[in-house]
Amino acid sequence: MIITTSKPFEEVLKELEGQDKVFIVGCGSCATTCETGGEKEVAEMKARLEAEGKTVTGTVVYEEVCHELNTKRKFRENKEAVEAAEGFLVMCCGAGTQSVREATDKDVHPACDTVFLGNILRQGQFVEKCSLCGDCVLEDFGAICPVTRCHKGILNGPCGGTDGGKCETDREKDCGWTLIYNQLEKLGKLDRFKRIYGLKNWQASMKPGRVIFEKKGEGGE
């Protein structure tokens, strides 16, 4: 799940300065769960923009705005409203916003900040447990990620800032290394803690990431 937060409405208004006709895109996937760009939030945004004197030429909410072909299809389906718009306000993650970028040459504006790949604790509560490093080390750490859950991404044990099992940066956050230690101890695998981890390959998922799978069924299967 890609976690997003809403930009302040004033900021959104500033982005739209000089553009009176706006088309709003929401996402039926992550942004709906985050309550930043689902049907309800898109309707609210429409009402607020209209109260500010804007014309909302149309709105659309669909699964996976990040799907570029799908986004282009949705734009074709809403041709009239899309063509009438001067700018597009996208209420989902940065991937979705850039998917809209591919579907139009007009101005595209983000309504959200994209914060992390998150786990859902319960409604409205998200935490980051994976930072998409491209070189998964979970096998060695009791399935608790030190790259993400230690603020400094240390691979060899806790820093001196751990305090009662909490992190020096925020006492509301667990020290990832205390969690890893406890987990490995429970599993009887403290030998893994004792092993020195050398320098990590930070280029395993080199920016900008690109993965192209060979089509299944081709060449042998």
Partner: protein
């Protein structure tokens, strides 16, 4: 190989340690800015009173005059520097390059730290690098010493450092901290300075644990000067891994008005004496944090004169 600096005024930390002498080190906190007069005054004041001076590296994630530059100033003034290197602000390339430079300019001792986190400092929106961390940094230096950089490429001339590291006796929980201590030794740490210790009974327990893990590695107690009740309250509430026990809090609270600093000096002198007399550890590292002027008094009260050790 030509070194740009090979006329050290003082023995190295390694030489002091290996002679069996109780090591006494101080600390220089570089200023925020180019006005280095006060820092030079402190260097001149301490250079003959302590065996070596640590130079902090953007301590507490606050940007300051650089540790490497200060190490060179210490050498120029006839002192012995212990270069602190953290992993927060530089990636492996920058750290390696700095270490090559440091070696050619006479730096013989490096203290390897991961570094505080960015949000505790004064550049709160900066990117924390942490390309490597303390254990990997020790390994990286060990590789440089064998003539290889961390990319596996051969160096034209390597380095040689006395590799130091940090351990936190007050860490909670302590078990993972001790495992990391062990890993640091395996990665090449030859000596340790501890994070601040006040509770000497806990420090003794820590030393017993540490000695069981390794009885060869040298360990120096990190001592931070108590200056006021406000500072104690702040440390106990905000500095992880630092704990001032009740009896010292009481001793500071009982100090007459204007006597807090003198009381702090007396407490530290007593702790230094205890470390020496009870042979608790191999040395002490004195952190006076802005009160470097009183370090000679602390040593005098402790009856410590490095020229006679």
């Amino acid at each position: 190989m030509t070194l740009l600096f090979d006329k050290h005024a003082k023995p190295s930390i390694q030489e002091v340690m290996e002679s069996g002498t109780f090591l006494v080190t101080g600390e220089i906190g570089p200023p925020k800015g180019t006005d280095i007069d006060a820092m030079i005054h402190h260097i001149d004041l301490l250079k003959d009173k302590v065996h070596a001076m640590n130079i902090t590296d953007n301590q507490s994630s606050v940007m300051r005059y650089p540790s490497l530059g200060t190490a060179l100033i210490i050498l120029e003034r006839g002192g012995e520097p212990n270069l602190q290197v953290t992993c927060r602000d530089r990636n492996r390339l920058a750290i390696e390059a700095d270490l090559l430079f440091a070696y050619t300019r006479g730096v013989r001792s490096v203290l390897c730290l991961t570094g505080d986190s960015i949000p505790v400092g004064d550049h709160k929106e900066a990117k924390g690098v942490f390309d490597c961390e303390s254990v990997q940094l020790l390994q990286l230096i060990s590789n440089l010493e064998e003539g290889k950089d961390s990319g596996g490429n051969e160096l034209q001339g390597g380095v040689k450092f006395y590799k130091g590291a940090i351990v936190t006796p007050e860490a909670d929980p302590i078990e993972p901290q001790m495992l990391k201590f062990e890993k640091k030794i395996e990665a090449g740490a030859q000596w340790f300075q501890t994070q601040a210790v006040y509770d000497m009974d806990n420090f003794k327990r820590f030393m017993e644990r540490a000695r069981k893990i390794n009885d060869k590695v040298k360990i120096c107690a990190g001592l931070v000067l108590l200056t006021s009740m406000g500072a104690i309250r702040y440390m106990n509430a905000n500095v992880p891994g630092v704990f001032v026990p009740d009896h010292l809090v009481q001793e500071m609270a009982d100090a007459p008005k204007g006597e807090a600093l003198n009381t702090g000096i007396r407490i530290m002198a007593r702790q230094i004496r205890q470390c020496i007399d009870e042979k608790l550890c191999d040395g002490v590292h004195i952190m006076a944090i802005g009160k470097e002027d009183v370090v000679p008094r602390i040593l005098e009260e402790a009856g410590v004169d490095i020229t006679k050790m």
